[in-house]
Amino acid sequence: MNKIRSGGQIIWESLMHEGVEVVFGLPGGAILPTYDALAKYEYPIHHVLVTHEQGAAHMADGYARATGKVGVCIATSGPGATNLITGLATAYMDSTPIVAITGQVPTSLLGRDGFQEADVQGISLPVTKHNYLITDIHDLPMAIKEAFYIARTGRPGPVLIDVCKDVQQAEMEFEYPATIHLPGYNPNMNAPDPQAVQRAARLLNEAKKPVIVAGQGVSIARAEQELRELAEKAQIPVATSLLGIGTFPATHPLSISWGGMHGEAYCNYALQECDVLLAVGARLDDRLTGAFETFAPKAKIIHVDLDPAEMGKNLTIDTPVVGDALLTLRALLPLVEPNEHPAWLEQIAAWKQETGYRDILAQETDELVAPYVMRALWHATQGDCTVVTDVGQHQMWEAQYFHHVKRRSLLTSGGLGTMGYALPAAIGAQVGLPDEEVWVVAGDGGFQMTMPELSTVVQERLPLKIAIINNGYLGMVRQWQDVFYNKRHAGTPLFNPDFVKIAEAYGIPARSVTAKDEVYEAIQEAQAYRGPFLLDFQVEEFTNVYPMVAPGKSNADMIRRPLSHNLEAGE
């Protein structure tokens, strides 16, 4: 049997060896031999054509987060590859496994500034876990094998393979490698140091006011069940990071929602007052902690993470535990004694009640405010859907008012904060989970950044539900201007198109919603429709997100929502 294959063929056949079923991409000159191989040999891999390569990277990201598999995106050289960079940086910050394959000019033209040449290996260096430039076809199969291994193991992340055009055209006898040899790569998938686990257990057993902070690492390790068992066994309240939402059911009595800059106030009080803090699979970044030196000042901190570089990166850690979240929680469970913390839980309940009084939904107003939409969406879906949010005020409100109970049910750009993430990431999620109800929740600003991907929605016949939270502003930036720049709204009022007409131009049914009493019914109409549907929620324009911790300030110094009907930033 002749096993001679071209570089283009090798790319597709290697992807098949890795179990890849779908790729997101857009062709161009330097990647054409690879695209041609797909058409010529009819490989059983579905190619989703995107309208812009940024969309391809976000789709691979959404696909990976929703399914737990490695997402794959493809682009051509130069601008095709540089358009991927925002998506790769997004995935890198949020530890999403992606393999990106880019075409590069032929090796004979490398470094000569030829048409559509860019130093993609150099450009992608700081936003990928690893990358490759392939100038010899004999390096190609191993690079692909290694790329998938590196992307999905340890702390996941994006890996880029830049393949010169002549490499795609060259031929060799192909056999997919069975083993890899990476002497410098240690993904830390071993069990944690037993002594560190014992120290952690001792601290938890002695704690009077313990709190767990669960991050996305819990979800990546599929340790949700163990997290719950630990919390219930020792009656420890559980907060999450933004990306940790869904790792612990928000409706669980021990859930204290999520903390940080716009987290629930009672959660922040608990974090500031706790005496032992167990962080599992969370980076403890500035958005969660506020000013590092003021975070959880009374707490002994136990930090569980499989990336040793996270230990002590931001905070002083009393007990670092380098290890996989699942293995660590399993090791910790038998050592942690059954416990109750009635006084502590009562204190948190009192804080929660106070927070409830300030809830904007408890205020009497006829105006349609975004939190009302989020709560209605939660009721209508009963939480049984995947929500993909963009970045800004709506993102915070979604996280506050939609109580996620299902793992991986919120996909959001937490680390990089990439506006334009929602629509393409939701496309990726829906492609990966065709039977899932997938909602895009985006602001009017961010939605327009990647809006052309609506054509991908229609092309792929995806039944995506889209909710635009339209307040006519770059809302979160406007909020900062309200609070820190004396309400000077430079560059934040938006000129918006008629989103209903935009949707209709793509053949997507849509309706605008302007009043409270239409919200629930409109959501149900979208749900009932067997196809994509867009809702343009025209919400009260000046509502801001509370609480709010000013950057560089302590979480103890939250700006709270005014206790009045005045929705503008007043205090």
Binding site: Q121, F292, I317, D318
Partner: protein, 189 residues
């Protein structure tokens, strides 16, 4: 807390696969993570395919932990060791081109011999002096030679090797050599 002790110079040795772009990866990481690199020297190690880098970095103990763990995340870096608190042989080489006249040439040559430096090139109006030694010896010689007029100078940067038989992992088996600094032993990060 963002600080952990005072700023100190640390000498680190890193072993890495000898592949295109590896130096770029390391340099890029230093820049991106804002590490304060004072010198860097790289060349072949005793193992084919493995390069050895000695670099000097300034920072707190916490910074050093970050340097080690972040560098170790680079796929091509096979090991890293902080040898600051180890007994080491530390050397640097410099080539110094000094203005020399008939009157002072003998003085310069005598000075060089005191520092066990060698004269590697002689010209009517200049000398090239090669000196090898700990940095402070190189610094002293340079300080004295400035009186004669230094036309050109090149220094290699510090290279270091731990004394005695090799006991710790050193770059060939993927193990990470762990710093011997006492602060890193009791779990305090």
């Amino acid at each position: 807390m963002t600080t952990n002790g005072s700023l100190k110079r640390h000498t680190m040795i890193a072993w890495m696969e000898d592949k295109p772009g590896v130096l770029n990866r390391v340099a890029g990481l230093f820049r991106r993570r804002n590490f304060n690199i004072e010198s860097l020297a790289v060349g072949h190690s005793e193992t084919p395919g493995i390069s050895r880098m000695t670099f000097v970095v300034r920072g707190t103990d916490r910074d050093m932990r970050q340097v080690q763990t972040q560098l170790n995340k680079l796929v091509n870096v096979t090991a890293i060791q902080d040898v600051t608190y180890e007994p080491t042989v530390v050397r640097e080489m410099a080539l110094i081109k000094v203005t020399a006249t008939n009157e002072n040439r003998a003085d310069i040559i005598q000075l060089a011999s005191i520092f066990r430096a060698s004269i590697v090139d002689v010209d009517l109006e200049s000398l090239i002096i090669q000196v090898v030694g700990p940095e402070d010896r190189v610094n002293s010689l340079i300080g004295l030679l400035q009186n004669f007029g230094i036309q050109e100078m090149v220094r290699t940067g510090r290279v270091a090797m731990v004394r005695g038989a090799r006991t710790e992992a050193a770059g060939i088996n993927g193990e990470t050599a762990v710093s011997a600094h006492p602060h890193h032993k009791n779990g305090q990060y």
